[in-house]
Symmetry: C2
Subunit: 362 residues, 2 copies
DNA sequence: GTGAAAGCGCTAACAC
DNA sequence: GTGTTAGCGCTTTCAC
């Protein structure tokens, strides 16, 4: 044990602003000003102070700064489920800009109502631990909103719209329309839809919007919306598989499926294979996101710039924090249909014997 | 603007411990004790205090607590790249337990040496912002280690071993052996290997270890290790594709490929398809991790319990923080070969014309 | 069982 | 351009 308990660097207690002041022969106020680059410090003084500070490897204790200024220099990112591709991308995008701007990012899982409530209200309330917050597909009630505003927190939402805070997202109705129209254009008329679920960690309006778009496109094409074709996949691979299972097991199964996320589309792909159905020969599948892996399975999808959502959200939080007035604007990012090999024109020969997949393209 | 600037809850300034003390007719010291459940508080007093605290929705200001106690009640999780599946799973696992134990999780991207150095040394040094740190596949030098120890931080590493801190991981040499042996057992002798890269954000010992295992298995089978079969994939889908491209373009291409991660294996799958090669008919592919999507593409892989790494690491940090002595133990988690449909026995008919994929299994 | 008071290490008036 | 000082809101001895 001796080696590191002796005179090593671990021995000295960490330098405080007073140590620096004493060593530099100035007052603590001057040190504070000099170090933070505030005006009214003589060049020579500033240099001397920073030299001394360096030697002592002084750094302001964040807790003390926070207490004195009321600013924590950190922002929270609240996500329902961190282990989903979409959320990890958003968080990753946010982290990059927050780190670059000198903010700590504290990420908070809010799977479910209780967690959300605890975040805002409970014993572990986020208040005073962060200067700002980005909510990624977290539904905010009026009371939540009021709470956040009253506390003066800088907030930005990703996904969901909000009347009081700026938000980043896409036109989710358009997403549904684009997907459905692509399928309709290929001649499909029985189009299954795999979406989210009311309740649970992922209770957000996005699924409704995408379904609305899908229904709108169908109606425009004079096709009845069949409730039997709508199933819940919870935005996970396995959920998507189960959803597709139930869709494909019916006697009058759809010839195409719109999954509201690529991960659910992957599940649908899996289900199709397990049912011995050729994709896209017997069933077409389209997803949303353009997941990293989508190109691998050749998934046709509606791409959205996910990491960019996070980056922009972080930037908007910082702007609010640095004084720029940011109204409750909605930043709508573009989406784009990426056609790959899981969708194809409807063939009339249905329910024939299983053939090997043909989606390879050399 | 009027509605929320008036007498709404936003108007009152947040209650402090003094407010509670006054309202409860006790001293601040008693409030502090009562609220934190410390001994030496009369039952009746405790109840009165918590009632009052509730009414005022009082919560201790974390910055003040931190300053007074020196504990930040938060732990950092340092990862090279947050948007990779592996890291997002680890972080997710850590978040769950940290949140449950009342710690904030601040996640820190450390892509590259500079970022790592800044984390420990620079102006934005992590010191005093966290009580503990988990490093996920972040290489720690002796100086880093010394720094962390001297600061009394609770640290745990995931992936990399470390002589001074507890670490969680798997037997990476065994991973290489298991993958190679599976392929050897199927009759393959020319086995490509897609690994990491020295330098860059992902400069960690894991790739070397897995390669060592692979080479060991080959040697045991009396097969020469051909350096030409070793390429770099950077642990990403696209990197894996490029790596496989170079492997498959050679005149004497391998009949099997061991990719050190599932994401790189996905890339290899893509490459194989683009080269018109049937998997597993003409080329077998095995990965590592058991990514969510692996089941979808039927990838044979060496599974490791990734989220669990994060959860255990977090637990170990907390144990150190709560006084339990935790030596520099290594927790080695089990891995498991999961055979799916991207690997098959070597067929003698090589380089024949392209056939459609046959990996569907109804 | 409870209270008084001295910090924790910084920032921000305010005075010079 | 610089110093003094009063907080920021807690925790924690130490008395009683």
């Amino acid at each position: 044990m001796a080696p590191h308990t002796g005179t090593a660097s671990g021995e000295r207690r960490r330098a405080t602003i007073e140590d620096v002041a004493a060593a530099a022969g100035v007052s603590v106020a001057t040190v504070s000003r000099a170090i933070r680059g505030l005006p009214n410090v003589a060049i020579s003084t500033r240099e001397r102070v920073s030299k001394v500070a360096d030697e002592l490897s002084y750094r302001a204790d964040p807790a003390a700064s926070r207490l004195a200024t009321g600013r924590s220099q950190s922002v929270g990112v609240a996500v329902p489920l961190l282990n989903y591709w979409y959320f990890s991308q958003v968080v990753s995008g946010a982290e990059a800009v927050l780190a670059a701007e000198g903010y700590d990012m504290i990420v908070i899982g809010v799977a479910g109502d209780d967690a959300r409530r605890a975040l805002l209200d409970g014993a572990t309330s986020i208040h005073r631990r962060v200067d700002g917050l980005v909510f990624v597909d977290v539904p905010l009630g009026d009371d939540d909103t009021e709470f956040l505003r009253s506390r003066g927190l800088a907030v930005v939402t990703v996904g969901n719209h909000n009347a009081h805070f700026p938000s980043i997202g896409i036109d989710d109705v358009a997403v549904g329309e684009i997907a459905a129209e692509h399928l309709l254009g290929l001649g499909h008329t029985r189009i299954g839809i795999i979406g989210g679920q009311t309740g649970g960690p992922l209770d957000f309006p996005v699924p409704d919007l995408r379904r609305t778009g899908y229904e709108r496109a169908l109606r425009r094409a004079r096709i009845d919306v069949d409730p039997a074709l709508e199933v819940v996949g919870n935005f996970s691979v396995l959920g998507g598989r189960d959803a597709a299972d139930s869709l494909l097991a019916t006697h009058d199964r759809p010839t195409a499926v719109f999954a509201m996320s690529d991960e659910m589309a992957f599940g649908a792909l899996l289900s199709a294979r397990e049912h011995g159905l050729d994709v896209p020969g017997e069933i077409s599948i389209v997803g949303v996101d353009d997941h990293d892996v989508s190109v691998v399975v050749g998934l046709t999808t509606v791409r959205q710039p996910v990491a960019d959502h996070g980056a922009r959200a972080a930037r908007l939080v910082i702007e609010q924090l640095t004084g720029r007035e940011v109204g409750p604007t909605r930043v709508e990012r573009p989406v784009e249909l990426v056609v790959r090999s899981t969708t194809a024109p409807l063939t009339t020969a249905r329910n024939e014997v299983h053939r090997p997949e043909t989606r390879s393209k050399p």
